[in-house]
Structures are given as C-alpha cells and as structure tokens.
Amino acid sequence: MTSKVECAEGCAPDQEDERLRALYRYDVLDTPPEESFDRITRLAKLALQAPMAMISLVDRNRQWFKSRQGTDTIETPRSISFCTHTIRKDEPLVIPDAREDPRFRDSPLVTGAPHVRAYVGVPLRTPDGHNVGALCVNDTKPRQITQEQINVLQDLARLVVDELELRLLACVDSLTGALTKRAFLSDATREFQRAKRHSRDLGLIMLDIDHFKRINDTYGHPAGDHVLRQVADVCRAALRSSDVIGRFGGEEFAIVLPETSVACKDVAEALRQRIAASEVAHQAKSIRVSASLGATTLADTDRELMDMISRADEALYRAKSAGRNRVECAFPAAMMQGNAA
C-alpha cells in the first residue's frame, strides 16, 4: 500500500518500492553504529567545519541515522526530514538558511532542537541508481556552502556506498547468488522471531543436491559449480521475493518461507520437480540433476530457528534414505491434525 508520505513526497509508488527494496537489500536499518561509517561522518564534519554530520537512510516513513555526529537523534519522521528532499534528485541539496526556505522554515527541526539553519545533503546513490539516503551536514547558523565543500561530501557519499556494497558482497555467496550461511541465519532468525511475535506462519525447507560428489568426480568442479548456480537460479525463479534462500553448506541450500504453513510442502515439491526437469548444459554435455528436500513449519514449541532447521534436516535425511529426488515433511503433530480436519 502506498503511504501518505510517499504521495506527499511526490514519489511514484513503483519507484519508491524499488528504492526501498534497494535500501532493504543492504539490511542496515536499525543496526548498531559502526566505525566505518562514523569515520566518514567525522571527516565530513571536520572538512565542512560544521557541528553536525549524519548518514541518513530514508525508510518508508522515517529517516534513520546509521551514523551521526553532533546529535543524539536516532531517527525522525520522514515527513519533516531534509534528506527526503535530497534523495528526490541526483544532485546535492544546499539550504544556506532554512528559515528563509518555505519548504523548511516551519519544520520542527528548524523551529526546535537541533535548530537546523544550514543544510547540505548529497544522495547515497546505489550502483543501480537508487538514492537510498543521504550524507548530510547541518549547521545551527546560516552559511554559504562552497563547491569545494560539496565535492568533499560527494566523495564521502561514494565511500559510504562502497561500504554498503562491500557488506552486501559479504552476505551473498559469489557462486550462486544465494545468501551466505551467516547472512541466511541472520535473516531467517529475524523472520522466525517475527513469526513467533505475531503468531504468523513460517515454513522452512532444506534442500540438498543428489549425488553431487559424483557430478564433481565425473564432470569436474567447473561442472559442479555450474550445477550449483543452476539449482539456485531454478529456486529463485520459483520463490517469492519475500522468501529467503541461502547456501547452507557445499551443495545444501536452506529456504525460509514467511507466511507459509503446510503449503511449504507444495513449494518443496514444485522445487523438486523443476530441478529434476532441468538439465545443466556443460561443455556439450547434459547433466541431469535432482535434489532431496525436507520441509517443516513453525511449531508452538519451537524456541529458536535451529529447532526448525533440525526438523527439516531430519526430514531431508529421510528423503535421502528413501531413495533421493523426493520431499519429506516434518510437520508438528497439532498442525497435521488441524490439516486433516
């Protein structure tokens, strides 16, 4: 649903959704302060000789500061933020005196603490062209901002994006594009906690490529890599954007399905069929691939994500033992009774 803020800010809803997706991909909102970003804001503050410097990430209805110098404010409503104006364009936004600017003179940030008078912000532009936030400097006195000062801020803003991008690289398995195990566990734990807190459904699938060692031994490791990539691609194509897939081990993947109950069995079966139907072309050879899957859903008794992973893993082991290329489920007994009824 498009919020009033988006409309008020004049953003096209589709573009705004894409921008937010780009922001959420970094998985950085509400994370603790980090020295890598604090060093950049300290340098911005020093270079512009200003009392405040922030890295503002513009969320749907708020701006949240990943790093802040000279202010204790962690976030503000988006509707009163300067940075929401900055991200609308690809150029810096310079406000020499906010009291003289009709857009800002009545803002609580100007009329009250922190009493912003001068503002300069540079968009944080991702490589695919989304302005996810801004690096900004505020002063409590009106002032002119020179082009040289803006240049420094622009250079520092690029370095902020460098940091964000490198973090992202570290979360993604470079071979398959799936999340790394660590990043998956972080995302999946968040989904688990959310599902527990709000009594929502959650499905989890463990997937293991059958006879993967044999593929490597027969066709070589490049062929094995090709198989891993293709299986990940097949899964991604079949899953929703809200689902989370991670490479859990060598040839093992884990998938979390928010808002999904016993239907995760159908999802697992669809993945199995799609993988079995796909052939991996490698150096004029065609490699047939299959996978075994174990599926489970959140139980009332689950205390942590690992409870679900262990159950899905046991189901996966049964699928392997029963001949591979199949799906086994480990649904909580209460759920099966409910399902049967």
Binding site: L43, V152, L159, E163, E165, L166, L169, L175, R182
Partner: protein
Amino acid sequence: MPSEKGQSALARIREELDNQAENAPRESIERHYQNLERLADSLRTLGLNDEQVDSGVMEVFQEYRSRLAEYLATVAQGRGRD
C-alpha cells in the same frame, strides 16, 4: 599538487590492493581506490593540511580493508565443499 604524505598514503593503499587475493572483488576494489583518490584531491583543494588528508584517507581505507578481509574469509568458507 598532491602532497608527499598524501601520495604515500595512496601509494601504500594501491600496493596493498594490488596484492589482494585472486578472488578479491576487483570491481569494488578499483572503485574504492578511485573514490579515495578523489577524496584526497577534494580534501586538499578544500585546504586541509597534509596530515589531515593522509590520515582521513587512511582511516577510511582501514575500515574498508577490515570489511574486505571479512568478505574474503566468507568466500573461502563458501568454497569448501565435500
């Protein structure tokens, strides 16, 4: 004109980046180095002294280096399969 100190900081960074492992993300590394070069120039143009430019560039790079090391460790883990 770049200062000797600024040059040496960038030169040290360049050397270190050139010696990164084969599986290092070259695109990210090159982009980061170019951005540091630009920053050094901008800070100098702004009138920061050599020491401030040198330490500013180095400080930013040190954090990137730590993140890069984490990334390479993750890649190394991901490649280990039976």
